[in-house]
Structures are given as C-alpha cells and as structure tokens.
C-alpha cells in the first residue's frame, strides 16, 4: 500500500470507484490522484488496439466468444441509449475434447442459446466479433543450469516475462552427488513442453556434464510411450550445443541460443521470446480443434485469455490509478496479473493447476497439509482419494455435499496461493515489486471463483490466498464476460456501465497486519450512511465479520486498529479510505485475523477457527461436517 506522508491520523488509500464515474462525465477520464502523495495519477486513456479487437466506435453489436476447457461463453454487447452494455451471456459446455472435437460447435450452440434467451438474432444484424480462448495458455518448462547464480537469475528474469509454466529450476553448479538421478526422476514426473539448459563456458569438465545431460534427456524421451517431442533450448557456446546434439535423437528438437554480450541486464534473447511464443501458439492450436474455423469466425486469431486479462487489468490500474490484482482460476489452469498504476505488470499462469480438472497436481505441489489447513474437518486418506478419483472421472461435476464444496475451495485457495507467490517472487534487476497483498482491488474470474455458490465464498478464497492488508475492494466476473472489457474503445469512450455489467462489486475488506492476543479487541470501526447515524463495531483479533454497508456518496468509514496492528499508516493509527467506497453485494468484510495469517498448528484449534470463520461470514450452510444438521 502506498504510504502517505502528509495525513495525520488517517491514511489516504486509492480505491476503485467505477460507479462514481456515472455521476459526472467530466470525471470519467480524470480519476482523482491522491493529493498527498505522488505517482498516483492515472493514465486515463489507452488508444492502443493491437490485438485486432473489434472497433466499437461503430454502433455494431459485438459478440465475444470465449472457449475454455469446460465452458464456452458468448457475450453480446449492444448500444443501449448510446452506451455499450452487456446485453446477454450464454454458456454451454465446450466441445473441444474427443469425440466431439470442434470448438466452433460449442460457439454455435452458445450463439443459439444467446439468441434464445435474448431474442436477438445474429442473422438479422451485422456484428463485430472477438475470439478468446483460455485453453493451453503457457509452455510448461523446466530449467537446468550449469551456469553461475548471476547467469541463472538473469535467465529467470527473462523467462518470467514469457508465457511459461515453470516447473523446476535445477541449479547443477553446486550439485549434490545424486543430482542427476533426482533431475531424471523429476523430468520423468513432469509433463514438459520445453527444457531450457543454461551452459557454462568456464566449466573444464563440460564434456562430461553435457554428455550426462544429453543421456538424461534421451532417457526421459525414450521413457514416454507416445510420440512426445521435447523442445530443448541450449543457451551457451556453439561447440557445447553441437556436442549435445550428438546425443539427442529425432525426438528432441534442439534450439541453440547465445546470450548477448551485455551481462548487466536480462538475457537478451529475442529468439527465446519468439520460440516460446510460437510454442504457445502451436500448443493452443493443437488443443483447440478447428482453430482455423474459430479464427475465421472472428476474422482474426483467438486472443489468449491471459493476454486479455493482462490488458484489462492494466487498463483498470491506469484508469483509476490503483494497484489491481486479477485472479483467474479456471478448470485446468490458474493465472494472476498484478498491475500498478505506473504500468508495471507482472503475470503468471500455471497450466494443469486448475481446481477442477487436476486437483492432484495441486496436492503434489502444495502437499496435503497445505490443503488440510483450510478444512474444518479431518481429511483422512480415503476421503481425499475418493474426492480426487471422483474429480478425475467427473471433472465438471458439481459438489454434492458441503464437505466436497469446502474441499474444492481448499484446493482453490492453494492453487491461487501458488500463483500469487510466484508473482511475488518475480524480480526485475534483482529487486522485487509491490506484493500482491498490497493490491487495492482484487478481481476474481474463472470457473471456480465465478461460479462459487455464494459470493462470500469467492471473497474468502481470494482473501485467504492473497492475504491483502489494509482496505481492499473485491470484484467478481460472475458472468464470465471479462474479455468484453478488452474492447478498448468502450473504456476510452468512458463506458462505466459496461464495466459494471461485467464486474460485480463484492465489497471491501479491512485487514490489519500484525499479530496480537486472540479474542482481544483488534479493530474498531465506524461506518456511517446518509440515511442513519454511524454504526460502531468492534471486532476481536482472530475473528471475521460481515457488516452490511452500502457505502457511496455521503457514507463514511473509519477504522482504528489496536496498538499492535497496522492498517498501513503505522501501528495503532486510525485510517479511512481516500474517497467514497461502495459496499457492493456483500458490504464490509472485517478480517481481523492478522497478517501474516496464522493457522494454528494444533489441529483441533485450527479446525475450530476455520469453522468459526465460515459460520461468522455465512460462507457455508450451517451443517455439521459429519453430515447432520446442527
């Protein structure tokens, strides 16, 4: 959270206020900067339209088709009283998997459903079209380094800007004796698309090292029973690459790259960038049957969902001069984009870590204890196996018990936490940027978050995964129509109504950081609304509470933390938002659990706390987890 050095006892927090834009057209392009700090002024326009998005300057209705792993959505945007509005969204099961492998079949069905529900007819009108897909976003990659730490860090900084899912990073420069066996086993266990090997010109024993690496890669490829082809990128000298090539057969595609002479910055490898981009495109094309038909329908190649999410997040960050974090938890992937008002953006995506299709991957990475800590009941082996096997056989099935819903959400928390940690670990020139926990607005999208039965469940998942501090506003792409915001012209024209149509404002969380004794007063709130006198609420440490509050013009919100806690302006100092916040669909979410969140080691105590949080927020029905009604 940006510090304010001028305010006395209160802190000015930039916030997201889309609804305020409806009040005065003159304010639409000029979000108010914080008057006490610098660097908050937003860039209010982004005229770039590089992805071939439809031009909304015309009055044509626009269709946005989004083909995902499980669902295909079509959104219809129409001009209503001069402004573009989301007129309808239709969702049908995707048809990208055998035996029906045709993405366009799902799009056609979604269009038919859209016509049925809205009465609009595509045949009668000329329309603009935009194609988006969230299938196969990234190239799954591991890194083997024979180079020194500096070279490895430079490579990693380069890779973090590319669409890859990082699996393993092996630093073989100071390896233990059994390193090669470990590397072999991990490579066997990992379904890689690409392997990057960073060579070391100074190594006297390079011939032995490269021979061993070549042998391992060949054994890994030979162990696969399919026609899997591994793309191997070798960064190092030409002689070493040539030597490595002698080991690899036809099933390994070797690309040799030489780093630029300037070693002070990131590796200058435009060839690596273009190679990864082309691999990602080829992978997407392979996983999206009838890709050409989908492209032909839209008149341009489908936009990757992560790119759409990234651009929308950047638009919002610049437009409102805030730090925006978008979380996308799809059926088979998880992604996050963090964008600062100055245009700095960090993004990460993990293919194969969706909470629906592959919870076992999340379990393998996070560990059972990490999943179990979010549950208010014992997770024995058989129950966990039954859940995972059920998901394996029926990935799109809805949970039929509260227990399985809670378990699904526990996996979701860990998937989100993984991707958020990945972003927080990113460095630029060795320096880290603002953590995700400092986001002013957190936007949730994707199948698991967007389709959560209760809105507070989506908020809880995002809160637990990100653990934001201070005041944070939450929004949700409930309809799955977020790519509609890609239509830059709509934003430029100042169409806040479209923004409100797409993003449901959920509420505001107030989360002090720091720790103190349990069950002692942690936070005192005064929430006022124009129609009634201010309401004062006191929340104890370790508790979560929901407070109905509409916010908006004329409302007030003030918070005073206990002396050991901090709302961003110093321990014990009171704070209030810079301008009017809106309570959204939920209101205020007071999260007095402290930061970093401390989940007790004692299992009984931890389960009791988790159950208490669930019940105090009304996140789940009041059922006991043995299946009996309380």
């Amino acid at each position: 959270m940006t510090m304010c050095g001028v305010c006395d006892s209160h802190y000015a927090v930039p916030y997201w206020q889309p609804e305020s834009l409806t009040e005065s057209p003159s304010r639409r392009h000029a979000p108010q900067p914080c008057t006490h700090t610098t660097g908050h002024m937003a860039e209010t326009s982004d005229s770039s339209n590089s992805s071939g998005s439809p031009d909304l300057s015309s009055s044509l209705p626009t269709l946005v088709a989004d083909v995902g792993a499980f669902n295909t959505r079509v959104s219809l945007l129409e001009r209503v009283e001069g402004a573009f509005r989301l007129a309808g969204v239709a969702r049908v099961p995707s048809t990208i998997e055998p035996p029906v492998s045709d993405a366009m079949l799902g799009v056609s069905r979604a269009l038919a459903e859209l016509e049925r529900t809205t009465g609009w007819s595509a045949a009668r009108e000329q329309v603009s079209k935009l194609a988006v897909t969230s299938v196969s976003l990234t190239v799954v990659t591991s890194v083997l380094s024979l180079g020194d730490n500096r070279a490895l860090n430079r490579l990693l900084e380069t890779l973090q800007t590319l669409p890859i899912t990082p699996v393993d990073i092996f630093d073989l420069n100071h390896r233990p004796p059994d390193a090669y066996q470990f590397v072999y086993q991990r490579l066997i266990d990992s379904p890689l698309d690409a392997l990057v090997i960073l060579g070391n010109d100074a190594d006297k024993d390079w011939e032995i090292e490269i021979a061993r690496l070549g042998e391992i890669v060949l054994r890994v490829v030979a162990a696969h029973r399919s026609a899997w082809q591994l793309t191997l990128v070798f960064i190092g000298s030409g002689a070493h690459a040539q030597y490595l090539r002698t080991f690899l057969g036809e099933r390994v595609s070797l690309h040799h790259m030489t780093p630029a002479a300037d070693e002070s910055t990131r590796l200058d490898l435009p060839a690596l960038d273009s190679l990864v981009q082309s691999l990602a495109r080829a992978k997407r094309r392979g996983r999206l049957p009838n890709y050409d038909g989908f492209s032909e329908w839209a008149g341009t190649d489908p936009t990757a969902y992560q790119d759409a999410l990234s651009r929308v997040t950047q638009q919002l960050a610049r437009r409102y001069s805030i730090h925006v974090l978008s979380l996308d938890l799809g059926a088979s992937h998880v992604a996050a984009v963090s964008s600062l008002p100055n245009g700095e953006v960090r993004q990460a995506s993990l293919d194969g870590f969706g909470a629906l299709r592959s919870p076992q991957n999340i379990l393998l990475e996070a560990g059972r204890e990490a999943i179990e800590r979010w549950l208010p009941y014992d997770l024995d082996e058989s129950r966990l196996d039954a859940y995972l096997l059920h998901r394996l056989a029926h990935p799109a099935a809805l949970p039929t018990t509260i227990e399985s819903l809670v378990l699904e959400h526990a996996f979701a928390r860990e998937a989100l936490r993984n991707v958020v940690e990945l972003i927080d670990d990113y460095t630029v020139d060795g320096k880290r940027s603002a953590p995700c926990a400092a986001a002013d607005v957190i936007i949730g999208c994707g199948a698991t978050l967007g389709s959560a039965p209760r809105l507070i469940q989506a908020v809880s998942m995002m809160l637990d995964a990100v653990q934001p501090a201070g005041f944070t506003q939450f929004a949700l792409d409930r309809a799955g129509a977020l790519p509609a915001l890609l239509l830059d012209r709509a934003i430029e024209e100042g169409d806040p109504l479209l923004e409100q149509d797409v993003l449901l404002s959920l509420g505001v969380s107030i989360s002090p950081s720091g720790r103190m004794e349990e069950n002692r007063p942690a936070l005192r709130l005064r929430a006022g609304m124009p129609s009634r006198s201010p309401e004062e609420v006191q929340v104890n440490y370790g508790a979560m509470e929901l407070i109905p509050w509409e916010g908006g013009s004329g409302s007030t919100l003030e918070a005073w933390p206990a002396t050991r806690l901090n709302l961003g302006v110093g321990r014990g100092r009171g704070a209030e938002p810079r301008a009017h916040l809106y309570g959204g669909a939920i209101g205020l979410i007071v999260d007095a659990r402290g930061r970093p969140l401390d989940l007790a080691d004692n299992k009984d105590k931890r389960q009791a706390k988790v159950l208490e949080w669930m019940q105090s927020t009304g996140a789940y029905p009041t059922l006991s987890f043995s299946g009996r009604t309380n």
Binding site: P93, G106, P191, R225, S226, A227, K283, L389, A393
Partner: protein, 382 residues
C-alpha cells in the same frame, strides 16, 4: 519389436500437441456433456497417425485402410548410455582406448566385458561390462567417456481402424477419416491398441491375433497380470480399485509420466469404486457384428476412448447401403405416406429393448412428420 514385451512398441503413435487421436468432427449434434459415464455416440472421426520421427509413409490420399494396414515406418534413435571409462577403470582419459576388449561398433550382449585394466600384474583388475545389449559407439580421449548405444529399432505404424486416407504429410503423418462409434471412458492408461473384442482370453503365444479383453466385472490385479501374460492388446473393464492400479505402477492419482505399467492399455468405463459394467454397454461390446475396436488411453491428455466401427450399431451390411438423408419407405407401403427420408438411427441408448443392435430408425415423411420405424420393415430407395 519391443524386446521386453514382445510386441510392437508405440502401436499407434500420436503427436502430443495434437488432440491425440486428433480432430473428430461431430456427425450429429451429440456433443459431449461435461461428465458422461460412459458416453456413446456415432461420430465422424479424423484420426492423425503420426510417426515419432521422420520416416516413410506408405499410403496415399484416397486409399482405403484396415486396422492392420501399415501406414508408415520409421527408425528411432537408439538409447545411449554414457560410461565414464576413465574413472571406472582408473586410467587417464587418453588411455581408455587401450583398455577396450571389444572393437568399437562390435555388437555385444548385456553384461559382456567391454573394458579391463590390470595393475600390479593383474592383482588389481578393474572391469566394465556392457550395460545393455548394443555396441560401443564412440570414445572421447579428452574426457575419458565412452558412449554405449543400443541398436536402433523400427516403428511400424498401423492404421488401427477401418477408414480412408484423406491427407498425408510426407515422411510424418497420415490423416484417416472414419465413421465410428465412440465410447468415452472415465479413465484409461497405457497408450493405444487395436484388436478384436473378446470376453475370454485364450490367446496362445504363437497366435498373431490381437485381442481386447472386455470384462463385465471390475479389473483386479490378477485380471491385469493375466492379460499381460497372454499379451492382450488391451483391457476394457468397468472399474478398478486405486490400490490395485498403484500396485501395478499405474496409480491414477500420480502424474501420468511417472507410470511404470508396461502391460496392455486399460480403459475404465464406470469409475474407481468397483462398479460393474452397465447392461447396455456390455451388450454393445459383446453382441456386435464387427468386433474390431481401438482403445485410446492417454491420461496426460484426459483422452479415454474406445472406438468401434460404425457397423457396430446397425444391422450387418446396413451401413454400406444407407445413411442419414437416404430415401426409404416402409416395406409393402405405398409411396404415400410410407415414403420418407432417414433422419437418424436412434441414438444409443434410448431403451431399445434388444439393446444396441438398432432395431429402429427415425424417419421423416414427405409432410415432415417424424416417426420411428423398425429397420426390418424399411426398404431403401437409394
């Protein structure tokens, strides 16, 4: 041939980035709902048969192919093992060539002595044996390494099903189009295989006939071991218990790439709780006129398919004579109102009493009225 398993490795190789068995176009609007168990439907498939490396394609567009038809062959790079001879023998790198007791390129069996170094009149002798059956391919006097490699082997790529070649990518890929019935399972492992469906494995070691064992009861360790011993092409079972699968090296909750099961592909149609096969599916798999089938088991791509020739769902020979849109009339009826066109064979399952031998078809008469007619009463006009 695969020396270990006695059968052709990689029977039907697929390109990873393709959606495996590749592009399948829906013939009718019966797209898969998200969680079918199992799902059966009639589809127009386009199957990409891809060689793992550049090789020779032996068919042309327009060719009719049968399951056994070889559509391509290629040679795969041999396995290479690096031996640090200098360290193993305790000699300087430039002296390892003197230590070899077999010539470079000379074939030797696994365990054969390939290098020896004697010191102190033979009192301290170090030896190196062949790690695999193969030959010493190269030596490096700079590093003291030796490359030991196996013989290259040829991969023969069969078509795997009845169909027509519609496209060929030289040296690499064949696209086969086929009309087929597809059963979508809930899980499968082991790659791909084709063969004749059977309920009892009586295959002798000498027989070339490849059989896919269909079990109505859950697969057990014994079932799968027996199928392995008898060299079954694949096993189709309703369910299996995770512990049994894990014991055989195919834990469904482990990453697919870490599976060690080398036996025939296994396809589950119901789940993991010991369910039995449904009557309708059992009838489909055991009472069809053409018993050839292909199992596609690609857990890394969530691809669990059993593909049957389209004739499986219709009276024998019927599919050679008619299809949707064909004009037909009821036997013995006059042109009006008995004449009409075939809309569809009734999709499976809709409670056809006799199971899956389709007994009825949906027809639309000249006044666009739909009706169901027993196939035996229909006369085909074209």
């Amino acid at each position: 041939m695969d020396a270990v398993h006695g059968r052709v490795p990689h029977p039907l190789l697929l390109r990873e980035n393709e959606l495996a068995m590749a592009t399948m176009l829906a013939l009718r609007g019966t797209a898969n709902p998200p969680t079918p168990t199992p799902q059966v439907g009639r589809y127009l498939l386009r199957l990409h048969r891809v060689l793992p490396a550049d090789g020779e394609i032996s068919v042309q567009p327009g060719d009719k192919v049968e399951p056994h038809t070889l559509v391509g062959t290629c040679a795969l790079t041999p396995q290479r093992v690096v031996l640090d001879l200098a360290s193993l023998l305790g000699v300087p790198p430039d002296r390892i060539e003197e230590s070899l007791v077999v010539a470079q390129g000379e074939g030797c069996a696994e365990g054969t002595l390939i290098a020896v170094h004697r010191r102190f009149f033979g009192l301290r002798t170090r030896t190196v044996t062949a790690p695999l059956t193969g030959h010493v391919a190269a030596l490096s006097s700079r590093s003291g390494l030796a490359w030991f490699e196996t013989e290259s082997h040829t991969v023969a790529l069969p078509a795997g099903l009845y169909g027509s070649v519609i496209d060929v990518t030289p040296r690499r890929e064949v696209v086969i189009e086929a009309e087929a019935v597809v059963v979508r399972g809930v899980y499968a492992i082991g790659g791909e295989a084709s063969g004749n469906l059977t309920t009892v494995l009586t295959q002798s070691a000498e027989s070339d006939e490849r059989l896919i064992l269909v079990s109505r009861e859950p697969a057990t360790i014994d079932t799968l071991r027996r199928a392995y011993q008898l060299q079954a092409a694949a096993v189709v079972a309703p369910s299996a218990v995770r512990a049994d699968m894990a014991a055989l090296g195919m834990d469904p909750l482990a990453r697919p790439s870490s599976h060690t099961w080398k036996g025939p592909p296994l396809l589950l149609t119901e789940g993991f709780r010991g369910q039995a096969m449904t009557d309708t599916l059992w009838e489909l798999l055991t009472a069809q006129p053409v018993s050839w089938a292909t199992v596609v088991a690609r857990p890394d791509q969530h691809l669990f398919l059993l593909i049957l020739p389209i004739r499986s769902l219709a009276p024998k020979d019927a599919w050679t004579r008619f299809g949707p849109g064909s004009r037909l009339k009821r036997a013995g009826a006059s042109a009006e109102p008995g004449e009409g066109r075939l809309e569809a064979f009734l999709p499976f399952p809709i409670g056809v009493p006799s199971g899956l031998r389709l007994s009825a078809a949906e027809m639309i008469d000249t006044e666009e009225r739909r009706s169901q007619a027993p196939i035996s009463e229909l006369e085909w006009l074209m």
